[in-house]
């Protein structure tokens, strides 16, 4: 079966620095990946997605990079702010195409 996992469980950065959160996936057939942000007591919130025919996609202050060769993706957050403190999950669609497979999550802590 597919597994989606994260390299580091916690990441602490200073306000204003850039953050990089990494994720590895095992199913080479995965063709769609999403990053979610989850704040305490809330449901996951969509940040950015990328399809497997792309290797980079940019949003507002966020960039997702996809390396299909090593089955790795990363989320880069520019100029990290205290409001970015949360748990970040990468997810991919299952073979069915609708159910999401989530990794364990990385806790990002932004210190002033």
């Amino acid at each position: 079966g597919e597994s989606v996992g994260l390299h580091l469980p916690t990441l602490s950065v200073q306000e204003g620095d850039n953050s990089i959160i990494n994720c590895a996936y095992s199913n080479s057939a995965s063709d769609y990946f999403i990053w979610y942000k989850q704040e305490s007591g809330k449901g996951p919130q969509f940040i950015i997605d990328i399809r497997s025919n792309m290797d980079k996609r940019q949003g507002q202050r966020v960039t997702v990079l996809l390396n299909k060769t090593v089955k790795h993706l990363s989320l880069q957050i520019a100029a990290t702010q205290p409001g970015d403190s949360a748990v970040y999950f990468c997810a991919s669609h299952s073979n069915s195409g609708y159910a999401l497979n989530f990794g364990k999550g990385t806790s990002l802590l932004v210190t002033p």
């Binding site: 989606v4 769609y32 999403i34 007591g41 809330k42 449901g43 996951p44 919130q45 969509f46 997605d49 399809r51 999950f89 997810a91 669609h93 299952s94 069915s96 195409g97 609708y98 159910a99 999401l100 497979n101 989530f102 990794g103 364990k104 999550g105």
Partner: protein
């Protein structure tokens, strides 16, 4: 507009009891999903509805778990004979159903279930 809502936000029950968790999806979203999130873990898929029918219930852990969506909008997740291992946050999500199948899922805040 309103997002996905879930009630109750917290539910404490005793082992062996029956519970119902409710999800109100975003108006117009035909697809509805239930996930379960244990402490320190990512959400795990339970069941997916397309309209009124359960298109995929392969994530339900056993026959104590059941979900319905009789009118294609509100959904109820039902758990019989609850066990302590059922304690988790139960998340509901909804999405449009567009061609390609890769549609953004909007999550509710979840129901935190504690089985004593």
């Amino acid at each position: 507009g309103a997002g996905v809502s879930q009630t109750p936000s917290n539910k404490v029950t005793e082992k062996g009891k029956y519970v119902e968790l409710r999800c109100d999806p975003i108006s117009g979203h035909t697809a509805l999903y239930w996930y379960r999130q244990s402490l320190g873990q990512g959400p795990e898929f339970l069941i997916y509805f397309q309209g009124t029918g359960a298109a995929d219930d392969s994530g339900l852990p056993n026959d104590r778990f059941f979900a319905v969506r009789p009118e294609g909008s509100v959904s109820t997740l039902k758990i019989q004979r609850t066990e302590r291992g059922d304690s988790a946050v139960y998340l509901c999500a909804s999405s449009l159903t567009l061609a390609g199948g890769r549609n953004e899922q909007f999550f509710g805040p979840g129901t935190r279930l504690t089985v004593l």
